[in-house]
Symmetry: C2
Subunit: 252 residues, 2 copies
């Protein structure tokens, strides 16, 4: 009975928040926004959010089977609704569906990580190349993300560093101003976070890359997009190689 009170969903900030600044607090929105409420979400979508949190939080580690009966009873929803939620997670590549066997939390391997970085490179480089003509808000988002990562590093808050690092790279891809690129990038990064779960402590893993993020940001701010491009390419290659090697060491 987890979903009987409609207010019980405080978690948010997942996919699809492509704004760069907080909204002006709903100026002229009518009080009764019942018909066509854009924010309204079905039960299946809320269930998928809960499962996303559990997966990314490590409660449901990679390889876990998501039993329809057990989970449905746990979350207080029917099997059919749970199935619809599963489809949404399949769309994000967080779980995989095997016919007649069920859905399992994906456990991305080195090949997956390498592939994710290939697509990341394509999207982020496209963003960097479009930086000159990008609106100011998008460029400022890049700078902000770097700064936030550095602040978090000063505090020794490594999870926050990881989050800010990913936000930085998402901001790079977002320079293209393309909703589809944003959505694709979001799904990629969520999958990448899942891959990190199969690795030992990412404690300080991001630290050596912080300075390189700043370097890229500086090149961009100075309009030297070609240098930024080269730096970013090297960055992604190094990160990919480091992760892949680490995964191969710990999972022979």
């Amino acid at each position: 009975m987890l979903f009987n009170n409609p207010q019980g969903f405080s978690r948010g900030l997942h996919h699809f928040h492509h704004r760069t600044a907080p909204l002006p607090a709903q100026e002229h929105t009518p009080v009764t926004l019942s018909p066509g409420d854009v924010m309204a979400r079905s039960t299946a979508q809320r269930v998928s959010t809960v499962l996303r949190d559990r997966i990314e939080g490590g409660v449901l580690p990679p390889g876990t089977q998501l039993s329809e009966e057990a989970l449905g009873q746990d979350l207080g929803v029917s099997r059919n609704t749970l199935r619809e939620a599963f489809r949404l997670l399949v769309h994000d590549n967080l779980v995989e569906h095997q016919l007649n066997r069920g859905v399992f939390v994906r456990s991305p391997g080195p090949a997956d990580v390498a592939d994710i970085y290939r697509l990341r490179a394509a999207l982020e480089l496209a963003g960097v190349r479009a930086a000159d003509e990008a609106p100011r808000a998008l460029r400022e988002a890049v700078t902000t993300a770097v700064a936030e990562a550095e602040w978090a590093a000063d505090d020794g808050d490594w999870p926050a560093v990881a989050t800010a690092d990913l936000r930085f790279h998402r901001a790079l891809a977002a320079l293209s101003g393309s909703p589809r690129i944003d959505a694709t990038m979001d799904r990629l990064l969520a999958e990448l976070r899942l891959a990190f779960h199969a690795m030992p402590s990412p404690r300080g893993f991001h630290q050596p890359f912080l300075i390189r993020n700043r370097t890229i940001e500086r090149f961009l701010a100075d309009g030297r997009t070609d240098r930024a491009e080269a730096e970013l390419t090297a960055y992604l290659d190094d990160a990919r190689q480091l992760i892949v090697d680490t995964m191969l060491e710990n999972r022979p």
Copy 2:
């Protein structure tokens, strides 16, 4: 009662055929491949294939509402199964799901086309840039696609030209050797085909671009990737602009 005979599905060749050459006709496959049959597909997947065909074939034009009751009766499947099929189409951006209102065949507008071309550019340029290190089979696929397009043009078979043109650009993106890029590209091109439905006769629309495809292919074969990159960028910009303008003219 469309699904009572399991053989009734002759349609194929849709998404996810990432081979470049026909398979060697199953050499050592055991006769009984029942357990874990990779080709096995659920009812929902088959239904989604049928709907995909009807959408791309124009039987279900953009804007059409896909009623659960009517379609379920027509196809001989239950509402729940049909809903699962809908989710798959939503994933491909061929239909959109509005809460409490149902699913509708998407009708991509000029903004969508422009966005699709942004993502296309990112993926295809990444492929071109990786052409030097790409395996030969992938590079040959590019050449083959251009040739097929030219043959079809000689025969005046414009639908075939359109198909070959899209295959050429998919082959470009596939040079990266990334399954995720391939899948993304497939979804993009399916959506683009849908956008074409809202346009007047694409008769000879692809013709002026045929020579440019050949130009790109030649640059690639000669290892002049930078020239290929420039040509491809110009190509995509021109095509996007032409389509967007045409859409704006015919739909004020």
